[in-house]
Every structure is written in C-alpha cells, then in structure tokens.
Amino acid sequence: MISFNQVTKRYPGGHEALTGVSLTIEKGELVFLTGHSGAGKSTLLKLIAAIERPTSGVLSVSGQNINRLSHRAVPYLRRNIGLVFQDHKLLFDRNVIENVVLPLDIAGLNRRESLKRARAVIDKVGLLNREKANPISLSGGEQQRLCIARALVNRPALLLADEPTGNLDAGYAADIMAMFRDFHQVGTTLLIATHDDRAIAALGGRILHLDHGKVEEMSA
C-alpha cells in the first residue's frame, strides 16, 4: 500500500529530516512509528499525505507516485487517508456533528446520508450524547476522539495518526488505542507515530524506529 524507496526529505535551510528511507507497508497492517522528537516521524506521515514532497527517492501510496502527483490530484488522494493530529485541528465555530460532517460535505455527499454516517461514527467513538456540543467544551481525550471520528467518517483505507495520545493521561490513551485496534480488525491500514511504549505493548504490531532520519525495523 505504501512504499518508500530511498526517500530523502531535506527542508529549506539544509536540515535533512529523512535520509534514504526504504520501507513497505502492506494493506491492513498496523505499524507504529517510534523515535525521539525530531527524528522525522511527522515528516514521514506528511510525505504520505502529500503535505510535503520528497526531495529525492520514490514514494508511492495506493499505487500513486507522490513525487509526480499533480496539485489537483492531491485532494482526491487525501480523501482516502484519515488524518489524526496531535493538536486535533478541530473547528470551534461549529458543533461536534458539524465537525465530523465536514469531510462528507467536501466529498459532496447528500446531507441526510452525511448526518447518518456522522452519527454512526460519533457513536463508535462514544460521543453521541455530545453531538450538539461545541468542541471547545470537550476534554482533551474527547477532542482527540472527535478528531478520530472526523478522520474515519469517510471510511478511509489508510489512517495516519501523529502522536494521537501525546497529551493524554493513561486512561484516555488506552481508550484510544483500543479504538485503533478495532479499526485494524476491520481491515484499515494504520500508521501511528507515537512514543507511548505502553500503547505499543498493548496493541502489538510492527514497529519502525526512526533515528536521525534513518529507519530501522524493531521487533515488538
């Protein structure tokens, strides 16, 4: 599903975030991305979502070459990828359900169908009783779950999560990881950047360790 071949990413100013990374992630895999901060975890996720482009090397996602992907094609690639952010990136000018409906509005789905699907996914992350609340009134863990709901409402084949449990206490973190395990079980490919060892231990799965822009495979 995802293949990196000697991918290097150098930022303007000369900082090299990734150096000659080669790896393959198969469909339906659960992969953890570990490493200290600044090791290049976020860069790797950004490359997959075409938020950044590789400086050299070949990167393909779902058979599409990211290096050569046109500006117009990027949105359609992203519609197949669910993104979970550490800082949630929620919109505080609308309520919970409107936040979740946003990707479906963008895809041009009929409103009634959108709301139905949004309610289903909000129910799955356990926020159904808060659907009319403003996200600002939610706790950190609830906001993160809302972010996950928004990433999943489009039923993406691939979910990228950047430090999904970064700011959460152990209880919330365990909840969220359990949710990820459920998604993995229904066949979603998951790539989670984290340095939460407990979570990794709880879920199991493949671990990629990044160190100064180089990637190495680790056993769980």
Partner: protein, 322 residues
C-alpha cells in the same frame, strides 16, 4: 450534476450564513459599495439628460451670410433662391445701408461711422436654419460660404459649442470617476473578503488537509463577493425606481426638463433591470478569487510546521530570507 448543485447550494448557504452572522459589517460594506456604484452612474445619467436637453432646446443659432460687394444681381438672386429652400427656417435680408444705420445707433461707434466717406459694410442675409445640431449647422454654413457671390459666413453658435465642450469634459470625467470607483469597489469587497479569509483560516487549513479541492474552498468566497455586490446594488435599484417615480410629477418650473429626466430614468431602469446588478456582483467576486488563491496556496505547505514559523511564508520565500 447533482453533486455539483449540492456543492453550489452548500457554498451559497454558508456564504449567506456568514453574511447574516455579521449584519453590521455586511451593511457597512454594502453601503460603501453602493455609494461607489451609484455616484458615477448617477452622474452619468445626469449628464446624459443634460446632453439631450441641450440638443433639443430651441437654440436658434443664426448664420450671417455676408455678400461680396462685387456680387452681381444674378448671383444675389441665386443666393436668395437658395435661402428659400426647406432646410432654412427663416432668412432676412439686411442691406448694407440698414447695417450702417444700425451701427450708427451704437453710441460709441456713431462718431466713427459719421466720418466714413462710403459704406464699407457688405449686404448680408441673417439665416436661421432648421437644423439644430452642431454638425449640421457647420455643414450648412460651409455650403453657403461656397455659393457664388458670398464673401463669408459666420456661424453664431458659440454658446452651444461651449456647452458641447463642457458636456464632453463632463463625460470624460464621469468615465474617469467610474474607473476610480470601480477600483474602489474591488478594493472594498476585496477587503471584506480578506477579512473573511483571515477569520476562516483554520477552516481552510483543515479542509485542505481532509481533501478539499481549491474550487471547493474558493466557492463560498465567490458567492460572498457576489452576494455583497447584490446587496450593494439593491438599494440602488430602489433609488432609481424612486427617482423615476419622482420625476413624473409635473413641475411648473421646467416641465420639459423633468419630463425628459423621468423618461430617461424609466428607460434606463426598464432596459437594463436584470443586468445592471451584474457588474457589482462580478466586482465582488473578483477579489474572492484572488484572496482565496493567495491565502490557500501560500499557507498549505506550512501547516504542520512548528508554531512560531510565519505561516504565510512559502518555502521559497523562507529560502530567500535565509
């Protein structure tokens, strides 16, 4: 097709919601835009009416046809015959003796004329043509000057010429003003849309990250500009209607003038009713396109970067700075 319509409806309703959420700001912008549209168009209408009025006033221009002192009797008869034709309303012959007598009546010139041994003045015809337009008058004057036995002609219509020149200057300045106000219009609506873009920055960023196309992001701003233009244009429509209604009332002072004004108002109103709201709408939309393009393109690569990085600097610009 249904998806496309759904997107349009969504953009329209979201723009409407945005506008109604800030009624004061919306009204102020519409007011500024309305003034910018109505000032030059009102002036243009006024000038147009003045123009027509000037053209149709009984201006009574006169052409003085001075005969050659050596003109023969036959030539004089031919000239008299020409001046009886249909394009001449009235022609009056002034023999040179009469002209000299009239001149002598003038107080200042009495002494001078008394000292003359012979009459230096030529015979003349004072001709009042039927034509009123500047062009036709000049043509007739030239034609008469070319007749055998005519020394020269003099077209007495200076005031009309001056009025025409003044109107021409007026027209030029109206166009200039319209150009300036058009720029102002774009600037006003651009500013309003820019404010909207800034306040919706997060939404644009998030939408891009979850797969919104440029068109999807641009659409509400285009609608916003168009709606604002429409809003600015609607009071103007009311104004025209009111003005047209006002002018139909009879006025004792200048019935001709008011009659003309009202008819042309009504004409302008009915002729272009559905179309003239278009320019403000378009003017409103143009900045929507511009601002959207700038804000979205330059911000997108930086959205994951650490806080503190200026988000509107593109990678290229960052490179230049370093």
């Amino acid at each position: 097709m249904i998806g496309w319509l759904r997107h349009q409806m969504h953009a329209l309703t979201s723009s409407l919601r945005r506008l109604s959420a800030q009624p004061v700001a919306t009204l102020l912008t519409a007011l500024a835009m309305g003034v910018a549209i109505s000032l030059p168009s009102g002036l243009y209408l006024m000038l147009g009416n003045l123009d027509r009025l000037a053209g149709e006033l009984p201006a009574q221009p006169e052409i003085s046809v001075f005969l050659d002192t050596a003109a023969s009797m036959t030539q004089k008869r031919a000239i008299a015959a020409r001046l009886k034709q249909a394009d001449i309303a009235d022609a009056r012959f002034t023999p040179k003796e009469e002209a000299l007598a009239a001149l002598s009546m003038e107080q200042d010139l009495a002494g001078i004329t008394a000292g003359l041994t012979e009459n230096p003045l030529p015979d003349a015809w004072i001709v009042r043509p039927r034509a009123t337009s500047q062009e036709d008058l000049a043509k007739l004057s030239d034609e008469l000057a070319k007749l055998q036995g005519v020394a020269e002609t003099h077209l007495d219509s200076q005031w009309a010429e001056r009025l025409q020149v003044a109107l021409a200057i007026g027209h030029t300045s109206v166009w200039l003003l319209a150009g300036l106000f058009a720029i102002a219009l774009v600037a006003i609506s651009g500013n309003a849309i820019r404010a909207q873009v800034l306040s919706r920055r997060d939404e644009i960023l998030v939408s891009r990250l979850i797969g919104a196309t440029d068109r999807h992001i641009r659409r509400p701003f285009l609608y916003l500009g168009a709606l604002q233009g429409l809003l600015a244009a609607s009071p103007l429509a009311a104004c025209w209607r009111w003005q047209a209604g006002c002018c139909t009332r009879p006025s004792r002072i200048w019935p001709v003038c008011t009659g003309r004004l009202s008819s042309s108002c009504r004409q302008l109103h009915s002729k272009s009713q559905p179309y003239w709201a278009l320019p403000p709408c378009l003017a409103g939309s143009v900045p929507g396109y511009r601002w959207r393009a700038r804000s979205v393109r330059s911000r997108h690569p930086a959205d994951f970067r650490e806080k503190g990085t200026l988000p509107w600097l593109s990678t290229h610009r960052l490179r230049v700075l370093k």
